[in-house]
Every structure is written in structure tokens, then in C-alpha cells.
Subunit: 377 residues, 2 copies
């Protein structure tokens, strides 16, 4: 499992970069930053940095609200990464001089109808069973916390530790921090990994990872809306609100600058269109939970693609049969929350050659048939 | 009521233009075209032709479906103008070499629920009472005509003579025809009517008419959506569909090129924002009537401003106290359908000096207090 060519001993005196990161999204720049601050020389290869899932994402740091049945290993990684977020955000804010829009009010998980509430409680019981910090609330308790919720909302829960960050602030902050630490952007496209001369390569190419590595990373379409509070002020609510409205799952993320993100569909489609039906479902659910959103400006409708894997979990580790190639991709809906743990553990692996035990469930060799042979040098 | 300076006798030999049309929207260019083909020399004054209501409009030519209680004079003008549309469209198509997207399948007027159907029938009885050609249909008859209608639709009516045109084709066609007939565009803004030296001035400035004339023309906000059928083909339905869906009025206009227009709100507001609530209401109503629209791309959300008047009817005629100044404005929701009658009767008035009897209810002097004095020469 040692990574060829980036031992501590060889870290100085090389002429070329020691680490080439393929992909200039949040995961790629986070890895580049963490590697650069450890003294590695790093290049980031992307002809259009930030053009993937990173700048479409809502930015919820929500391991509790995202804990789904049967994904306990993933939940563990989400919790571990969310725990790193406060320090990561503080360090990144200092290193980049950028306000990340990091907010800690927590997340309300709500149900509009009786059936919706049943679903919230079922998931809440599962989350509590995992030991996650989630508190069930009556409607009165919900509205004490968030008066903007619709009177119809039947109940819900509070996840105090589920925070948020603005990915459109995060991405340039990571790039600034990485570049200040010495990382350099290369905009020439990478057609094959064999074209890269660095002793260590990290593929953080999101949906582009499949073509470079043969790993089963596929695009999962998401449609997402951006609203803006009228009059230029902040939104009239402070918490991230997730929930079900007449069976429709939705999340609503308020930002201090007035932006409100409403998302997101999860579609096994690769077409880039924004559809009337998706916009209708998202708006109906969001306005159902927070009626004041009807008066907000609809400023953006976007379709993006998450890098999905067969088990919905990321792929982090050495590519089978390619000791010089690490992969950090397939983060699906969790790229923002997982950025700190991914970046730190990849940097550790590059420096020590030993993968952290946390990464064991996410190794690239878990997929069958074996992969890694489509683009040899 | 004679219009100063544009008698037949003076039509040749002048050096400057005989008619200055202020406003390069559909009404302005239609007037310019009709004047130019009668041998008048015409300038059209607009720093941004087509930037007003014309290119936001859906383009329904729907005097029957638009016949509302208490607006019988307006209905008469709508019917008269719609009757001119076939010949007007044929002549314009020939003169401009442009396909106008003119379609004659007719309009279905439908109600989704029992209450909606009651409203459709109430309006249908009124329209029949005016002698307008509208046929009530059972659900089976509706679906025979338009299988794409939702199974829930309770019933409706058919207005065979309510056609449609594409305003985004109409506007450049009118400009081309007018310019080919000798009209010329002047892009210098017109601050005051007194700055114009032509012996006859026609103010067709839409919402800008108030500032130029003092007439009570106000902006009436409309939000409208443009969808596109998936796969690049035409929409899966042929008729214009108007109706009520759970009390929400909506219209849906299919174009041969795949575009579908869904409109429109009517709001006494002057802010230019597209709101989440308006998009939600329009999509919910449209998808309720035509479920396949959920799979269509949402390609445009727009807010525009119709030039409204106190009685919802246009202002066409000589400005009181200003014999050289005609007004053709305030067409509100009816600018496209009223373009032929407005253009023809304004051109007649300019040539003969005598207003057609059809125009009597729409004279500018019907408003109190008297207007016309805000921008003297």
C-alpha cells in the first residue's frame, strides 16, 4: 500500500512536482492545499477548475441528516469529517482571507404531513440508534426555533451539529490557500494518467474519474434552485431546513448574503436540462415548508452531476495495480462535508505511505471486477 | 380631429420624415409598416427596439378566450383585429420573407376541477351571449381534440377562431417589412415629443407613453415561462390551452419549433424580479392541465411589463390639445392581437384625418383629468 515516489526523504530537491492532483473541484483543491502545507510540491490539473459538482452543491455539513439506512460505514466517515470542519474552516479562513459562509445554527428536519412526520421519526430513530445527536421536537418546539416554518408542519427534529458552508466561497478559498502554500494550476487537459510525470498522482476528477481509471463512477443528475430574499436582506429564517412535504424530500439552505438554496433531485440521467417537473416539485415542497419563499426571487436553476458509485460511498485509496496513483473521487452527495477528512487522509497517505484505518471501507479495490487497467502509461 | 401636416397632398417632396413613430415594439413597427406601404416617409424612434412587452408576450390571438365581463367595447376591437389577422399574417409573411409561427388550430378553454369548470362555463355563456364562436365540450370531446390533456380535466370549450403567432418572429418580421417599405430606425432616445420635427408623431411607447404624454399608462407586471419539448421535437399537443387549475388561471401555447409558453401572472408591481411563488403557480397549473409538461425543459423565466390603462383598454387617437400627436399605446395584454387594427386605423387616420368609428371608445380624451400638457414643445 505504499505510494511510490513521495517518501519524506525524497520531498526536497526534485525539479518537477511531487504530487499531481487531477481535478480542480473542492476535493482536488483541498488535497492540494493539505499536501502543499506539508511541504509537498503540488500541481492541480484542470482545464476548467470548479466546473463540476462543487459549485452546484448546497454545502450542507450534515452527517446526521444524511445518515441513511444501511450506510453505516459512510455515516462514520461523514461524522469524522464533520468533526474536522470547525478547525478546517478556521484554518482555511485564516489561510485564504475568505469568509466561507460557515454557519453553525444547525439543521431542522421536518415533516409537513402526518405521513411525512412518520418518515422523519423513522429516520430519527435510526440516527439516534447510531448514537448521532438528534433531538425530536414537537411543532411548538420547531416553531420556537424557526418561526418561518409553515403552520401545517406536523413535527420534526433538530440536528445541532449539522452545519453549512457556501461551496461558491469554499472553492476559491481552497484554491487561494493552496496557491499561497505553493500549489500551481495546470489548465492543460489530462487525457491519460500516463501523461503525468509526477511520482504521485491523485485522481480527484469527480465524474471524469471513470474515464481516467476505469472505476465505476457515474454521473447522478441533480437539479437545484437558488433563490434570493427580496430587498437585499438576509432570509427570514436561520436554520438549514430539510424535510418531506407531501412525500417530496427537499432541503432549504439560508445564507447570510440573502441566497437560499433549494435542492435537489437525484436522477439517474446524464442530460443537462432543467425540467419543469423538477422545478415544480422542489418549489412546491420548499414553499410548503417555508411559505415566505414564494416571495423570494428565483435567480438560478441548475442541473449538475454528482460522481456516484455503486454503494454511494466515495473511493479513496491506491488504485489497484497502480501504486503511484491514488483516487479520491465518487463523493456523490457528500463532497463538501467529506473534503477535510479526504484531504487530510490523502495527504497522510502520500507522506507516510500507510492508509488510515478510516479509509478501509472506501478502498478502490472493493469493486468487482478489478479495475485500473483502462489507461496504462 | 384632423391630424396636422400629413394630408395626401403633402406626402411627396418633403425632406424630413412625415411620421415619427416613438416606440419600436410590435405596435410601433406595425404602424410604421402600414404607413410606409401607403407612401408616407416614416422614422421609428427607439434606443432598444423590442425591449418592451412585445418579446415577452405569448402571442395569443384570442378575442373569444379574452372576452371578459364588462369589456364589450374592448371585445369588439379584439374581434375586429383578430378578423384582420389572417390577411395581415399572409401579407407580412410575403413582405418580410419570415415565418411568423402563425397557427390556426384554435384554443381549448378547460377547467381542471368542478369549480374550475363552473368558471369556464360561466365565461363561455357570456362569450356565447356576445355572439362569439365558442363551443362547450365534454371531457371526451376535449380529449378527442387534445389527448395530452390530463385525465382529471372536467370539461371545457373550444374557440376555433382563437389563433396564435410567435411574437419573437413577429417583431423582426414587422421591422423587416417596414424597413423594406422605406421606414428607418432612429436609436437616439426621445426625451420630449417637442424634440421631434416630423409633422405627425405617433406615440407607441408602451409603458414609456406616460412620461411622454401624461396619459395614465402604468406597468402591469407579468411573469411568464418558456419551456421546450425534450429531444428537439415539437410539443406533444397542438392547441393553445387556457384554463383554470385549482382556481389558478393559466395559458399554455405550443409552437412548432418545440417552444411552449406558459403564462402569465398579472401583478400591480413594478419590480423586475421573477419570484419563486409565481413560477410555482404557473408550473403547477400548467402541469396540472398537461402532465407531459413536467418532462419539458424549463429554458426561460421572465418578468415583463404590460402597458395598462385605468379601463384595461388601449389608447388610440389624437392627444387632446396636440393635433400633431397620435397615441397608440396602453394595449395591456392585447398588443399582439390588436396590432393589425391599430396599425391600419392609425395609418388611415394619418392619411384621411378622420378616425374610424371603431376607435371612438379608445380616444385618449376619455380619461379625466385632461392630459397632454406635460411635455410641450
Amino acid at each position: 500500500m505504499r505510494v511510490a515516489g513521495v517518501s519524506s526523504a525524497s520531498r526536497s530537491g526534485d525539479r518537477g512536482p511531487q504530487v499531481a492532483v487531477v481535478g480542480g473541484g473542492v476535493v482536488g483543491w483541498a488535497i492540494a492545499w493539505r499536501c502543499a502545507v506539508r511541504g509537498l510540491s503540488v500541481t492541480v490539473h484542470d482545464p476548467a477548475p470548479g466546473s463540476g459538482a462543487s459549485t452546484v452543491a448546497a454545502g450542507m455539513l450534515a452527517p446526521v441528516a444524511e445518515a441513511s439506512f444501511g450506510e453505516t460505514a459512510l455515516t462514520g466517515l461523514l461524522v469524522a469529517s464533520a468533526a474536522r470542519w470547525p478547525a478546517f474552516a478556521a484554518e482555511l479562513t485564516a489561510a485564504s482571507g475568505t469568509d466561507l459562509g460557515y454557519r453553525t445554527e444547525g439543521t431542522l428536519i421536518v415533516g409537513l404531513t402526518g405521513d411525512d412526520l412518520t418518515e422523519v421519526r423513522r429516520l430519527g430513530a435510526y440516527q439516534q440508534g447510531l448514537g448521532l445527536p438528534v433531538t425530536l421536537l414537537r411543532p411548538s418546539g420547531l416553531r420556537d426555533r424557526e418561526p418561518a416554518l409553515a403552520p401545517r408542519v406536523r413535527g420534526g427534529a433538530f440536528a445541532a451539529g449539522d452545519h453549512q458552508v457556501d461551496p461558491r466561497r469554499l472553492l476559491p478559498a481552497l484554491r487561494t490557500a493552496a496557491e499561497r502554500a505553493g500549489a500551481a494550476l495546470v489548465t492543460e487537459p489530462v487525457g491519460r494518467l500516463g501523461d503525468l510525470t509526477a511520482p504521485a498522482v491523485v485522481v480527484a476528477a469527480g465524474c471524469g474519474t471513470a474515464a481516467l481509471t476505469g472505476l465505476p463512477v457515474r454521473p447522478v443528475k441533480g437539479q437545484i434552485l437558488r433563490l434570493r430574499a427580496p430587498g437585499g436582506g438576509p432570509p427570514g429564517f436561520r436554520h438549514v431546513v430539510r424535510g418531506y412535504a407531501d412525500g417530496e424530500p427537499v432541503y432549504v439552505v439560508p445564507r447570510s448574503d440573502g441566497e437560499v438554496v433549494v435542492g435537489a433531485t437525484v436522477e439517474e440521467r446524464a442530460d443537462p436540462t432543467v425540467t419543469a417537473g423538477a422545478v415544480l416539485r422542489l418549489l412546491r415542497a420548499a414553499v410548503g415548508l417555508l411559505p415566505e419563499l414564494a416571495e423570494y426571487d428565483l435567480v438560478e436553476t441548475t442541473a449538475g452531476f454528482r460522481p456516484g458509485t455503486p454503494d454511494n460511498a466515495p473511493v479513496i485509496g491506491v488504485l489497484p495495480g497502480r501504486p503511484g496513483v491514488l483516487v479520491a473521487a465518487g463523493h456523490h452527495r457528500h463532497g463538501i462535508v467529506l473534503a477535510p477528512v479526504t484531504a487530510d487522509l490523502v495527504a497522510d497517505l502520500l507522506v507516510t505511505g500507510i492508509p488510515d484505518a478510516l479509509l478501509a471501507p472506501f478502498a478502490p479495490d472493493r469493486f468487482d471486477p478489478p479495475v485500473g487497467s483502462v489507461t496504462g502509461p
